[in-house]
């Protein structure tokens, strides 16, 4: 992201935080949190060409764990965040161990299989996850530091928290991609065989990238229940993973910040459509098709040209 983009984003966030109403702040927080998860998917799809159809399971799985901790143990911000990151990384590790043996189509299907396993658990393990009803009655978030505790349940503090998370995750992802491991990941996209000949373990590289992305998605998932106030099995379903890919493509694959643009636009359109028509699924499907036909490179162009392979 260039300097002028920062100059646009930061005052915008500041203005929103100062003058935004509760509804808009919550909506913006949802965009930032979902956008963070979509951005973590961009590390896999954009840099490693690892198209995962199970990313929502990492995000949603962390959301379930975080919601359960808050409901049953009254956990505060820090434990919830740590548990979410751990859940995301652990699920990503399992998914990666299963899926990184393969590439392309088989990778897609294997991530889908592991993701759907999470969905089956969320849907059928009623005593814990609430089954199809999901989890409601999520308590307000609070930050406990030492003996003091600050409530963070208001829309404004949730928005600031989400913005902080998004910023941190973005910087982290950027430094990951600038580091040798990130460069190697890009190389594994372009020339996996040559990279292996140079002595890199491509599979281990992909596994590490998945665990890293899973950690970010998990952190975002940990905050999601407090903004949305509901966690249901649809959050871990593969159609959510597909939606995340659409958000990513809409914003622009391989740019990181495009993920936020795409998520914002998608959620805006979805909210608008579902408020005035019952056939919004038809229109959402149409939106998918139109995006991939007319905007295959997304709104934010990446620095490098995408090859049509």
């Amino acid at each position: 992201m260039r300097a002028h983009a920062w100059l646009l984003c930061l005052p915008l966030a500041g203005l929103l935080a100062l003058f935004g109403g509760d509804y808009h702040l919550r909506f913006a927080a949802e965009i930032l949190i979902t956008g963070t998860a979509v951005m973590s998917l961009d590390i896999l799809v954009g840099q490693g060409r690892l198209v995962s159809l199970g990313h929502a399971a990492l995000f949603g799985g962390a959301a379930y764990v975080s919601a359960l901790l808050a409901i049953h143990a009254g956990a505060g911000l820090m434990p919830v965040l740590l548990a979410g990151i751990a859940t995301g990384m652990l699920l990503a590790l399992v998914m990666g161990l299963v899926a990184t043996r393969s590439v392309d189509l088989f990778f897609l299907i294997l991530t889908l299989v592991v993701g759907q396993m999470v969905y089956e658990l969320a849907f059928h393990w009623r005593t814990v996850t609430g089954g199809a009803d999901g989890l409601r009655g999520i308590p307000a978030l609070a930050l406990h530091l030492g003996g003091a505790s600050w409530p963070m349940s208001g829309a404004r503090s949730l928005f600031l928290l989400a913005a902080g998370l998004a910023l941190l995750a973005y910087l982290l992802a950027r430094s990951f991609l600038a580091a040798p491991i990130g460069r190697a990941l890009v190389a594994s996209r372009e020339q996996p065989v040559r990279l292996a000949a140079l002595g890199y373990e491509v599979r281990r590289l992909r596994l590490l990238a998945m665990v890293f992305a899973g950690g970010i998605a998990g952190a975002a998932g940990a905050l999601y229940p407090f903004v949305n106030l509901y966690v249901g099995p649809n959050l871990v379903h593969w159609s959510m993973s597909a939606t995340m890919i659409v958000m990513l493509v809409l914003g622009g694959v391989g740019t990181l910040h495009g993920a936020f643009v795409g998520t914002g636009l998608y959620l805006l359109v979805q909210t608008y459509l579902s408020s005035f028509t019952d056939r919004w699924q038809l229109l959402i499907g149409l939106l998918f098709v139109l995006i991939v036909i007319f905007l295959p490179d997304g709104i934010v162009r990446p620095g490098w040209r995408r090859r049509q392979a």
Binding site: V51, I109, Q116, E120, L282, L286, F288
Partner: protein, 289 residues
């Protein structure tokens, strides 16, 4: 004993259904390297066509051909636009396009055929039960097993033993070389797409007597068909058949023993099998350069 025999027959009937559906998907996936997520919609469309056909009083034995033709026509139209321009694109674009289309079709079918569960008005001939070791088993499922077996043989013969099948396989192996021989490969692919979609509709018409038709079934079938194809390995007829039977038996018996976590156990079995055989059960030998 009788109970397990009945469950085995159930598993075979379900496997045959999965096989027919998987064969359609496998054709497009392995021959054209195209991820077609609208295959579940083809299945459900075929189911609805059969329900409407049987409800209208037209000759019942034409319901399956009618579903095949209707779905094949839809496949042909889709091939002209927008699939044809996506055959050469990467899987990401294909997944997005066909997923979006399947969401649209699902909503359109909910609009056209209603949201409730629709069961076909089967002719009396197919409605009864036969007794196997003193346990009742629907005649319909026996017919399904037979019809599916015959169809699979016909398909195998068509693609493995006729000159037409050789053209299709050659177009996949080396499209440009086939074109230099004067054959229009885009026409070949259009026909394959129509047959594949038709097979989806046909399996829907055959399966509707067993599974009925309802919104959301398209997605279930799509996932199962995908798993069958991947489990079996791309580009092999035997693999798809083997994948269908493994998945059919795993799902049926997981449902018998642990109904609550049947879905989870089935997925676990698929994941384990794919970890052991990453390219599917019957993998064509490929060299990565």
């Amino acid at each position: 004993m009788g109970f397990y025999l009945i469950q085995t027959l159930n598993a075979v009937a379900f496997s045959v259904l999965l096989m027919l559906c998987g064969l359609g998907l496998s054709l497009v996936l392995s021959l054209m390297n195209f991820v077609n997520l609208t295959h579940g919609a083809s299945y459900l469309f075929g189911s609805y066509v059969a329900v409407v056909w049987l409800g209208s009083g037209a000759p019942w034995w034409l319901a399956v051909p009618a579903a095949f033709l209707a779905a094949a026509l839809a496949g042909l139209l889709l091939d002209r636009f927008p699939f044809a321009r996506f055959y050469g694109r990467n899987h990401l674009a294909q997944v997005l396009l066909t997923y979006g289309l399947s969401v649209m079709f699902a909503d359109l079918m909910r609009l056209g055929f209603g949201a409730e569960i629709r069961s076909p008005a089967l002719p009396d001939l197919l409605r009864g039960v036969v007794f196997v070791l003193g346990m009742p088993f629907p005649i319909y499922r026996l017919v399904l097993i037979l019809a599916g077996g015959v169809l699979a043989l016909v398909l195998w013969y068509l693609f493995d033993r006729t000159i037409w099948g050789a053209v299709v396989r050659a177009s996949v192996a080396d499209r440009r070389m086939v074109e230099t021989l004067g054959l229009d490969t885009s026409r070949v692919f259009a026909v394959v797409m129509a047959i594949a979609a038709g097979l989806g509709g046909l399996s829907g018409a055959l399966g509707v007597g067993m599974l009925s038709a309802y919104p959301g079934l398209d997605e279930e079938i799509l996932l199962h068909a995908l798993f069958v194809v991947v489990l079996g390995g791309l580009g092999t007829f035997r693999g798809t058949v083997a994948g269908a039977f493994i998945l059919g038996f795993a799902m049926t018996f997981a449902r018998v023993w642990l109904p609550e976590f049947a879905g989870f156990l089935t997925l676990l079995a698929i994941a384990l099998l794919l970890v052991l055989r990453p390219d599917g059960l019957v993998a064509p030998r490929l060299r990565q350069v």
